[in-house]
């Protein structure tokens, strides 16, 4: 794994417009950053990243399988007792409630095994820039000769998504729900809607605030049409707390991601995976914060069970403390041993390794001046060279 400084394409912003990439800059700062790229060898990609991702995905499914049969484990995962049956039933019914996607965040610097930092199992974003814009970047650089013609990329996410959408029913409208007016969440929803259309679905966007309810407990859209199938870019732990939550089990609505992903979209999986597989090469030691063993870690990250974009995360390493403020943490914390991230004058890099269905299929690298990745991180494209 190397970081190569390269000249950006002079007209990449025009290309971004043409390809619908509306959040190449966010919050007044560049997000897409092609002044550099990460170069991996094929062995690093296939052995260290793809195989490790497949392995981590399997460990997570195993944990979900055990939790669906064990209420105590569901509680430790942070699933509200009222929804234990709903979540467990969804797991047993997962042939009909398949998962679309997820993203593992990995620490990797080319030496030693990739280590799982966390699993964004429920509402991952960063997909469009991985699957489309990064792909188009590579093609242009191969064409111009800036990268070798045989350069490749770990990135079949677009094809995998279109194919995966065929696993979902297309008998009625497929509603895509979330903060559709947010530039990043809305961009993710637009992209997934496009992939769904290519797989034969008729999709419709709906703002999360506009979801309705009918007298039979079914969810509705703004035309009073029943929502049979909903992609929701909105985390399960928030939905479970919302006023309509009690209607979920009788709503008849199929969700993407399905309710069983609530078991995995929590940092509580980190100590539970370590408990089940101590010493696993792709896992970092992790404990619930009230576990005495947590105190024995001298370099560690203290994370809330539920949080996004680094909020409420504290990193203690080499006598220094980096603390990010935020609104989370009421449900408890986990403590995970600090991992060595790829670092360069460009910052710290975290690898986002995508799973579509059950298959690892793509990589997006984000770089940040801070060792805690937040929403001001930059997306830096990658290539497989040599």
């Amino acid at each position: 794994m190397r970081r190569l400084a390269i000249p950006p394409r002079p007209d990449w912003r025009k290309t971004a417009d043409r390809l619908g990439f509306r959040f190449a800059e966010m919050y007044g700062a560049p997000y897409w950053d092609e002044t550099a790229c990460f170069a991996f060898t094929l062995r690093e990609i296939e052995h260290d990243i793809e195989d490790s991702t497949r392995e981590l995905h399997a460990l997570c499914l195993d944990l979900a399988d055990r939790a669906a049969r064990d209420g105590r484990l569901l509680t430790r995962l942070g699933v509200t007792a009222a929804f234990h049956d709903y979540v467990a039933r969804s797991w047993r019914n997962r042939d009909l409630e398949p998962s679309l996607y997820g993203r593992f965040d990995l620490a990797y610097d080319g030496t030693g095994p990739a280590k799982m930092l966390e699993y964004n199992a429920d509402t991952p974003t960063g997909l469009y820039e991985t699957a489309v814009f990064q792909w188009a970047w590579l093609e242009e650089l191969r064409r111009s000769g800036a990268l070798p013609l045989d350069a490749d990329q770990f990135n079949s996410a677009h094809e995998a998504l279109v194919e995966r959408f065929k696993a979902f029913s297309n008998r009625s409208l497929f509603h895509f729900v979330g903060a559709i007016d947010d530039v990043e969440d809305g961009g993710t929803i637009d992209y997934l809607l496009d992939c769904a259309a290519q797989a034969g679905h008729v999709g419709r966007k709906l703002h999360i605030d506009r979801v309705g309810l009918d007298a039979r407990g079914r969810f509705t859209d703004e035309d009073d049409l029943v929502i049979d199938q909903m992609f929701k870019l909105h985390p399960w732990e928030w939905i479970f707390e919302a006023p309509f939550a009690s209607h979920l089990p009788i709503s008849g609505c199929r969700f993407v991601e399905p309710p069983w992903k609530a078991m995995l979209s929590t940092k509580a999986i980190l100590p539970l995976l370590w408990e089940a597989h101590p010493g696993h090469p792709n896992l970092l030691p992790a404990f619930f914060a009230d576990d005495p063993r947590a105190a024995a870690l001298d370099a560690y990250v203290h994370k809330p069970l539920f949080s996004r974009e680094g909020a409420n995360v504290t990193l203690v390493q080499d006598g220094e403390t980096v603390a990010i403020e935020g609104p989370y943490g009421a449900e408890g914390f986990v403590v995970q041993q600090a991992a060595r991230l790829f670092s360069s004058p460009g910052g710290y890099a975290v690898l986002g390794s995508w799973v579509v269905g059950d298959a690892p299929c793509g990589l997006g690298v984000r770089e940040d001046a801070s060792p805690v990745t937040m929403n001001m991180s930059r997306f830096v494209p990658h290539a497989i060279i040599g």
Binding site: A131, V132, E139, D152, E159, E163, A197, Q198, D214, R308
Partner: protein
């Protein structure tokens, strides 16, 4: 190859966009072939080229979208259109128009093109039916591709076409009901985006 063969965007780009993997200035194996002869000249056994072209044509006849008239077809599909190929389940009610097949590719997997693959498996000799050229191993199955009118030299596979009339949402069975309450699904944390 570890990346997608092509990217199509129907809804989110500035108009439909179809991109395919750049195969280099000289034609290399794995690119788009306009016919079996061109495929053979690239060093691929004639038998495999013939089979690939045949299976691509089968997939084209079965899968190419149909439009009521040529102009709609050319606008929505962004490709040259012609009268729909005969011998398919066109249904009753007059002539339809479909994208003209611009060539075919050789594929090493069957995931996206079940029609072409099924035909290839039963229609060619020798079981596995793969052959190696350079670093890649291809199955001798062919997929139809269609050249973009807007981006000449860019080809898209048959699955990339958005279903004709899909934007009209016709024929979909979502039930009409009466909404009694709205806004109770979210958000719990106003002001924070939900993606991560």
């Amino acid at each position: 190859m570890k990346r997608s063969n092509g990217i199509a965007l129907g809804l989110m780009g500035a108009g439909a966009v179809a991109l395919s993997v750049y195969r280099g200035p000289s034609e290399v194996v794995g690119g788009v072939f306009t016919d079996a002869a061109q495929c053979t000249r690239a060093g691929i056994p004639a038998e495999d080229c013939d089979s690939a072209q045949r299976t691509a044509s089968i997939a084209h006849r079965a899968r190419a979208p149909r439009y009521a008239n040529r102009a709609t077809c050319e606008t929505e599909a962004d490709t040259v259109c012609e009268a729909s190929p005969a011998g398919t389940s066109a249904g009753a009610g007059g002539e339809t128009y479909s994208p003209a097949m611009g060539g075919f590719t050789l594929s090493k997997d069957c995931d996206y093109y079940s029609v072409g693959c099924a035909a290839s498996e039963s229609g060619t000799s020798g079981g596995g039916g793969g052959f190696a050229t350079g670093m890649r191993t291809f199955r001798n199955t062919g997929q139809p591709v269609y050249e973009s009118r807007r981006w000449r030299g860019s080809y898209r596979p048959v699955w990339a076409f958005v279903e004709p009339g899909a934007s009209g949402e016709r024929g979909r069975a979502s039930l009409k009901t009466e909404t009694i309450s709205r806004g109770g699904f979210g958000p719990a944390f106003g002001g924070f985006r939900a993606g991560s």
